[in-house]
């Protein structure tokens, strides 16, 4: 029998395509509640949008949501909370579209989406709410074993005080109001290492240290007897040998480099051509550069900090360079770049083309012994490492700085401080939401001692609420407050100088150009009359004046609010913002900064 003409692969494909389309429509309608509206079973839903797709986060949030949805008052009120998890890649597009169309989820993580930066236009201010206690922290629900001060703060204190950072992460400096409630903690950047590999590397070092003829990689790494730190990176001491015999993690820069050298030897001996010491990527490269900057720069900073404001801005960095307060030939600066290059020499080839996920995967597949990333990857890494056919133990350590007696220790011996770190996953309440009270109630629940404890235990993320215990394996990710906070702004602010700096830096740490070539290119770009420092200064002047005008807009808005009687607290905020407005001084700080560095030269104009 002849087959009907319409029965062909094209028809089959079309049916699949159409069917998939219908299924997608069905899912979207079901998730957004549109289907319920059609079927008359409309349900009131508090939608919770975020981009945390790391293993554990969604599952933990779902556990908390289930607990909340089962509460009698929630059931009685006839609504429920639903999470919507969107990939980081599409989050901005999704949220921007819905913010502008007035259909944004009731709660969404602040950040990523460009429109979300227009905080006051799209999000509800929370100052009045955060001053009241969290109703879910009660005498019964908060454990008795907590220190009394913490317990009383949780039960009687304002909600904002129950957050580990005092809700700094939810505060908007410009608008002098709270606009977000953090529900977790990003945690700190840490070195993850494969305990088995590190043990084998230590054994290799112990073996070759006493060999009659030491291999070149040990000879060049260790300072010879009677030598100085110019001859090697770390001394061969009894402490080093004791450390090699023990199980302690890598604790100094010299030891990190020595173990990395040894790991190449492990790869050679075990015939593992894909094994590298550190799972580097474009992501890792920036983490190293940012983390080591305060450690190496801090000895140069006090003179450059012209306004004593405790931070080094881009203008101070430029001015300091142009007037010789620091240079690329200063020992700490050269040491900083040398360290970056030395560490990067233990990354896989072509690491600049690899991203964060590829780096993580290499570590999980045991093709790298170490990985630098944040606490947000921790639970996924721990889980996947234990589920491998050949499971391995993961250790965690802080990024090491030069130890006593090691190269650069003289000026680079303090770790970078993590004290400025604030809490994460800041959830903001959409201004047009018709479920505002319900959304706030859920945030109260999620950040209560009980809710956040459940979330921290289930997710393996660090808690946001005081008194909540992190899981044992997450303790090493707690922020380390000891250390240095400021660094030169070598990444500058933009324009041609930043482009040249970044491009040349990547070539340098990738081993493609020498330090002299790197410095020459960057200094030429900085000194360029049209596109160099002078232009950046002038562009910054325009930005500073714009910031002042934006601050005036905030002042005008507060004035409208209190003059019209919309917001009784607006007058107080007006005078708080006034301090910022006066201090900005119509952008003249920029002109003064120029004068301080270049008293005899006219302020640049373009």
């Amino acid at each position: 029998m002849k087959k009907p003409e319409w029965l062909n692969p094209n028809t089959f494909g079309a049916v699949i395509l159409f069917g998939s389309f219908l299924v997608s429509i069905w899912i979207v309608m079901a998730q957004t509640g549109t289907l319920d509206r059609f079927t008359g079973r409309e349900e009131r839903v508090v939608r919770f949008l975020h981009w945390q797709l790391e293993p554990g986060f969604r599952e933990a949030l779902e556990v908390v949501i289930r607990g909340y949805n089962a509460l009698p008052h929630v059931q009685e009120a006839g609504y429920r909370v639903q999470q919507i998890a969107i990939s980081e890649k599409f989050y901005s597009q999704f949220l921007n579209t819905h913010l502008i169309s007035g259909t944004a989820p009731d709660l969404s993580t602040m950040g990523k989406a460009s429109l979300a930066s227009q905080v006051d236009q799209f999000y509800e201010p929370l100052a009045a709410i955060v001053e009241n206690p969290n109703p879910y922290n009660t005498e019964e629900s908060v454990p008795d074993h907590l220190p009394e001060e913490i317990r009383r703060t949780l039960i009687d204190g304002p909600w904002r005080e129950t957050f580990a950072d005092g809700l700094v992460s939810g505060y908007n400096e410009q608008l002098k109001n709270y606009y977000a409630i953090p529900v977790s903690n990003w945690g700190s950047i840490r070195f993850y290492y494969n305990r088995g590999y590190i043990r084998r590397a230590k054994d290799v070092v112990l073996e070759v240290l006493d060999a009659e003829e030491r291999p070149a990689w040990v000879e060049t790494r260790l300072i010879p007897e009677g030598g100085t730190t110019e001859d090697g990176w770390l001394p061969d001491t009894p402490e080093l040998r004791e450390w090699l015999r023990g199980e302690e993690s890598i604790d100094t820069l010299g030891r990190l480099l020595l173990i990395s050298d040894a790991l190449w030897e492990v790869a050679r001996r075990e015939n593992r051509p894909f094994l590298v010491p550190i799972s580097g990527s474009s992501y890792t490269r920036d983490l190293f550069a940012d983390r080591y900057a305060p450690t190496f720069h801090h000895s140069l900073l006090e003179a450059v900090d012209k306004d004593h404001d405790s931070g080094i801005g881009a203008l101070e960095t430029f001015g300091g360079w142009a007037t010789g307060m620091w240079s690329f030939r200063d020992e700490p600066i050269e040491a900083y770049f040398e360290t970056l290059r030395e560490v990067a020499s233990h990354f896989p080839r072509g690491f600049l083309g690899l991203d964060r996920e590829q780096a993580n995967r290499r570590f999980i597949m045991q093709n790298a012994a170490m990985l630098l990333t944040g606490a947000w990857d921790a639970s996924g890494i721990f889980k996947l490492a234990s589920e491998q056919a050949n499971p391995f133990e993961v250790g965690v350590a802080v990024l090491p700085v030069p130890g006593a007696g090691e190269r650069f220790h003289e000026f680079a011996n303090q770790p970078p401080s993590e004290a400025a770190q604030t809490l994460g996953v800041p959830m903001a309440l959409f201004k047009l939401s018709d479920m505002k009270d319900e959304a706030i109630d859920f945030l109260h629940y999620l950040t209560s001692h009980h809710g956040n404890q459940t979330f921290a235990e289930q997710s393996g993320w660090l808690p946001a609420t005081i008194g909540v215990e992190p899981t044992e394996e997450m303790r090493p990710f707690m922020p380390e407050t000891r250390g240095i906070i400021s660094s030169l702004r070598l990444n500058f602010v933009g324009g041609n100088v930043a482009t040249v700096y970044r491009g040349q830096l990547y070539l340098f740490i990738g081993g493609d150009i020498t330090y002299d070539e790197f410095v020459q290119s960057v200094e030429e770009a900085m000194a360029d009359e049209r596109m160099g420092v002078n232009r950046l200064w002038a562009e910054q002047f325009a930005r500073d004046r714009q910031v002042d005008r934006n601050t005036q807009m905030s002042l005008s808005t507060e004035a409208i609010r209190f003059l019209s009687g919309i917001d009784a607290d607006a007058e107080e905020r007006y005078y708080q913002i006034l301090q910022r407005s006066l201090t900005l001084s119509n952008g003249n700080n920029n002109r003064m900064m120029w004068r301080r560095f270049f008293p005899d030269e006219p302020h640049p104009e373009f």
């Binding site: 227009q118 006051d120 236009q121 913490i150 580990a164 950072d165 005092g166 505060y171 400096e173 006090e302 012209k306 004593h308 405790s310 401080s417 004290a419 400025a420 201004k431 660090l462 808690p463 005081i466 008194g467 909540v468 992190p470 707690m478 922020p479 407050t481 000891r482 250390g483 240095i484 906070i485 325009a542 004046r545 714009q546 002042d548 005008r549 005036q552 807009m553 005008s556 808005t557 004035a559 409208i560 609010r561 003059l563 019209s564 919309i566 917001d567 005078y575 708080q576 006034l578 301090q579 006066l582 201090t583 001084s585 119509n586 952008g587 003249n588 700080n589 002109r591 003064m592 004068r595």
Partner: protein, 310 residues
């Protein structure tokens, strides 16, 4: 009509509809209607309060057109229209001139006892001294005259305090003339000495402390002004460590008073233990304590970690 020729009824009908619609586009101003004006005004305030100035501009315009000139609703909507015109996007010469014109109209019309007048004058000063769009020129001298008028007419009020602050900030336009900058800052300092109870004295002392250092390198005056601000209570209490750090450095490096410096390092450790500078402050304190063991006690409160649950 020849057979087959289309009937002219449809075009005629469309023309009639168009003519009817166009009657609504006439240049006539809407009739006065206080009730509707108030509705528009309320909506406009709501939009302005969420920074939606383009929408607020239209609504304030509608309210103003329906309100009786000189009445409360008209004043409020004109003030709103000027503010929205100033901040609507994109700013350009025409929109800024229009906003300025509206503020000037109010400045001429409003009686001296109007609660809006000092704010109108302050806004006029601001719109004149800010760079509102690329190519805009600023006129600090003219802006100053508006601030002076507020300071002198509303003496003893918070408006005069704000104006006094603006006059001092206005002097910073003359970066290249340190004497003029000093005169401007000292004028504010004298004002504050005469009016110590100003509700924004802490804000103004902080401003003086910031500028005496950065514009004049006058550590003594800067430190004294910051001290006054700290005594009165810093506005940004969460960033108090920032001011303490600055004061410690000034005391140590410029005032040659290490013990005074140590007291501010200690305040960072004890009052801002979650601040980013806590470790460095503790190191600096301990270094000074080694040199001055009799004057500096051991700090009892060591910094605890950012997370109080650790």
């Amino acid at each position: 009509m020849p057979p087959g020729h289309p009937t002219p009824l449809i075009p005629i009908f469309l023309l009639a509809v168009a003519a009817w619609l166009l009657t609504g586009c006439g240049g006539r101003a809407p009739a006065l209607d206080e009730e509707r004006a108030l509705v528009f005004l309320s909506d406009a305030h709501t939009e302005a309060s969420v920074f939606n100035y383009n929408r607020a501009y239209d609504l304030y315009g509608q309210a103003r057109a329906r309100a009786e000139r000189g009445g409360d609703t008209w004043i409020e909507s004109t003030f709103g229209l000027a503010t929205a015109g100033w901040h609507r996007l994109p700013p350009n010469r025409a929109s800024i001139l229009e906003a300025r014109g509206l503020f000037e109209e109010l400045a001429e019309l409003l009686p001296e006892n109007s609660s809006y007048l000092p704010r109108v004058l302050l806004n006029l000063g601001r719109i004149i001294e800010l760079r509102n769009f690329p190519g805009d020129t600023v006129d600090p001298e003219l802006a100053r005259t508006y601030y002076e008028r507020v300071r002198d007419k509303w003496e003893g009020t918070i408006h005069a305090d704000e104006a006094a602050g603006r006059i001092a900030a206005n002097a910073l336009h003359y970066v290249d003339d340190p004497e003029r900058v000093r005169a401007g800052l000292e004028e504010l300092e004298s004002y504050l000495e005469r009016r110590p109870d100003s509700p924004i004295a802490n804000v103004l002392w902080y401003f003086l402390g910031d500028k005496y250092w950065f514009f004049l390198d006058d550590a003594e005056k800067s430190f004294a002004a910051l001290e006054r601000s700290v005594e009165l209570g810093l506005v940004e209490r969460a960033r108090a460590w920032h001011t303490f750090w600055r004061m410690a450095r000034m005391a140590r490096e410029n005032l040659n008073d290490p013990v005074l410096a140590a007291s501010y390092y200690a305040r960072i450790v004890q009052e801002a233990p979650r601040s980013p500078r806590v470790h460095e402050a503790l190191l600096a304190y301990n270094e000074l304590r080694e040199r001055y063991p009799d004057e500096l006690p051991e700090l009892e409160s060591l910094p605890f970690t950012l997370l109080r649950n650790d």
